[in-house]
């Protein structure tokens, strides 16, 4: 799942309109990189690349607010499921 995860990282970097680099630990919500317009796109990209369907609810933000969390909750989870 490394390739798919890197694709997500590239995608979010392309969408980043702020003048600061995105690290894996950066809070994308606090840093205003993820807003209400980009949120659904971000969720759909994670779903598409990880193959895991995501339920949207209040608790979701805390699972995806950093790339490291996404990697752990979706890409590693998908990898573990495959193997």
């Amino acid at each position: 799942m490394e390739k798919q995860y890197n694709e997500l990282v590239d995608w979010i970097r392309q969408k980043n309109k702020k003048n600061k680099p995105i690290s894996e630990e950066m809070d994308l919500v606090e840093e205003d990189i993820l807003d209400s317009l980009l949120f659904a796109e971000y969720v759909m990209m994670i779903e598409d690349l990880s193959g895991i369907e995501i339920e949207v609810g209040d608790e979701l933000l805390d699972k995806i607010r950093t790339l490291a969390l996404v990697k752990n909750n979706y890409f590693n989870a998908a990898y573990n499921k495959e193997n």
Partner: protein, 287 residues
């Protein structure tokens, strides 16, 4: 000719709601299954219609996609109507609109039944409903008047877009008769809701849009609402379920397609544009 007042219009709409009351729970005769070799969505209203991608698709692929576009459209209706009921219930007792508020009880009643039949349709014929992937982010504090205006503006945007699909699908005899029947029933009631919504926005706008700052906040929110509504028509899950490869890429290509942009601007959003032009709000969106 005298312009009919909001109060008079509301009185007529309530009379019509009572006269044409449709109890959806017992009205429809639900077929056991729907023929998947027929269109479930007008080919002219598909998200690929007029695009470069459409040229590469076979008729069989379009028919398969039409099932999932129908499920997406009905899922959007189900999700949107749930939010509508929540929002209208939240603000209705605060609205300074006198007796015209009475119609909102009819609206909630009818929307509840729509929500029921759209939900049932998706579950019965597709085994699922598409979940809304949007999340309401914390908003800056706004006045109560602007809140009321935005609640009903967002509802009207959603309903005007839905109206386009009701018309396209109910009038196209290539579409499965049961799907057309659902679209027609929805159209009849939504036409009244839209008439009421357009009238209601006039007093709400007068109270809310009192300064350049308030107008700017409103236009920002409405542009966002239009963008999210348009993007939701290109759900990658429906391309995936229709067996089309690379659903996110299809979505991006369609959102960038000039013919599709033209269709958004001149057909799907025609009603929306008229509403806000009448209120002197100049919106500017780009999906």
């Amino acid at each position: 000719m005298n312009k009919i007042s909001f109060a008079e219009r509301t009185k007529k709409l309530i009379e019509l709601s009572n006269k044409n009351y449709l109890r959806a729970f017992s009205h429809f005769k639900w077929p056991e299954s729907l023929n998947e070799k027929e269109f479930w969505f007008s080919p002219d209203a598909l998200s690929i219609a007029g695009s470069a991608i459409e040229q590469e698709m076979t008729i069989e692929q379009k028919i398969r996609l039409s099932k999932w576009e129908c499920i997406n459209s009905f899922s959007l209706n189900n999700n949107g109507e749930r939010e509508l009921i929540q929002e209208v219930s939240r603000v209705m007792n605060e609205l300074p609109i006198g007796e015209t508020k009475e119609y909102l009880y009819h609206l909630i009643d009818e929307e509840n039944q729509h929500m029921w039949y759209f939900n049932k349709f998706c579950k019965k014929y597709a085994g699922k409903i598409y979940i809304d992937k949007n999340l309401q982010f914390k908003q800056e504090k706004i006045s109560k008047e602007l809140d009321h205006f935005l609640v009903f503006s967002r509802i009207l945007i959603f309903e005007e877009i839905g109206h386009y699909y009701n018309i396209m699908n109910s009038n196209d005899d290539r579409v499965h008769s049961f799907v057309r029947e659902i679209n027609k029933a929805h159209y009849n009631e939504e036409a009244r809701h839209i008439t009421y919504g357009r009238k209601l926005l006039e007093p709400l706008a007068e109270l809310a849009l009192t300064s350049k700052t308030e107008i700017k906040k409103a236009t920002n929110e409405l542009n966002k609402s239009i963008i999210l509504n348009i993007r939701s028509l290109y759900n990658p899950a429906m391309y995936r379920d229709a067996g089309l490869g690379n659903p996110m890429q299809i979505r991006s290509l369609l959102l960038e397609d000039e013919s599709r942009k033209n269709i958004h601007e001149n057909t799907i959003l025609q009603g929306v544009k008229k509403v806000f032009m009448k209120l002197d709000l100049s919106l500017n969106w780009s999906v």
